[in-house]
Amino acid sequence: DQQVKQNSPSLSVQEGRISILNCDYTNSMFDYFLWYKKYPAEGPTFLISISSIKDKNEDGRFTVFLNKSAKHLSLHIVPSQPGDSAVYFCAAHGPVQGAQKLVFGQGTRLTINP
């Protein structure tokens, strides 16, 4: 049951360039999407979210884009910094359970090279 998929297990980007992490979902009932960042030996940390009524949300260097027709979202980080090296998880939930039942993707390990 892979309702949220991150097809790239890893991504390597040069410092200062743009990092683009992708996520696809299959459940059309999802109405809220989140990105979490995870360092080793730590829990996931919330990064940015977007409601299904929007197609873009920006917070500093981080922008999330949502394409509902394609059931696709992406996280853009620009400029990428060494501290951005982490595993990034896409997550989603629907209107009924809300955040009570987040569904996570498999994660993408982002490495920022100096």
Binding site: L34, G43, A91, Q97, A99, Q100, L102, G107
Partner: protein
């Protein structure tokens, strides 16, 4: 910034033994959760808890698992008779609301069943 704390950070137990994982959620939060991540796999929802009862649970959360909020601050996950496949990182999380709300995760307890 307030945070979710989990103890212990690492628990080793023998198959068939009972374990209790402990969590102190953020103090003004009302919703509490357990997630787990088996090594190399995605973060999976186990259970959510609100108003002193389970509000949602996954197929993983069978009769071997139970949760409790024994006092005003702690939130525990008990596994009655551990199996090898219970080895995973267990993350506790909490949130103030359930809609449009991010979950705040603890750093996890690594459970190793031998």
């Amino acid at each position: 910034e307030p945070e979710v704390t989990q103890t212990p950070s690492h628990q080793v137990t023998q198959m068939g033994q009972e374990v209790i994982l402990r969590c102190v959620p953020i103090s003004n939060h009302l919703y509490f959760y357990w997630y787990r991540q088996i090594l190399g796999q995605k973060v999976e929802f186990l259970v959510s808890f609100y108003n002193n009862e389970i509000s949602e649970k996954s197929e993983i959360f069978d009769d071997q698992f139970s949760v409790e909020r024994p006092d005003g601050s702690n939130f525990t996950l008990k596994i009655r008779s551990t199996k090898l496949e219970d080895s995973a990182m267990y993350f506790c999380a909490s949130s103030a609301r359930v809609r449009g709300e991010t979950l705040h995760f603890g750093n996890g307890t690594r459970l190793t069943v031998t």
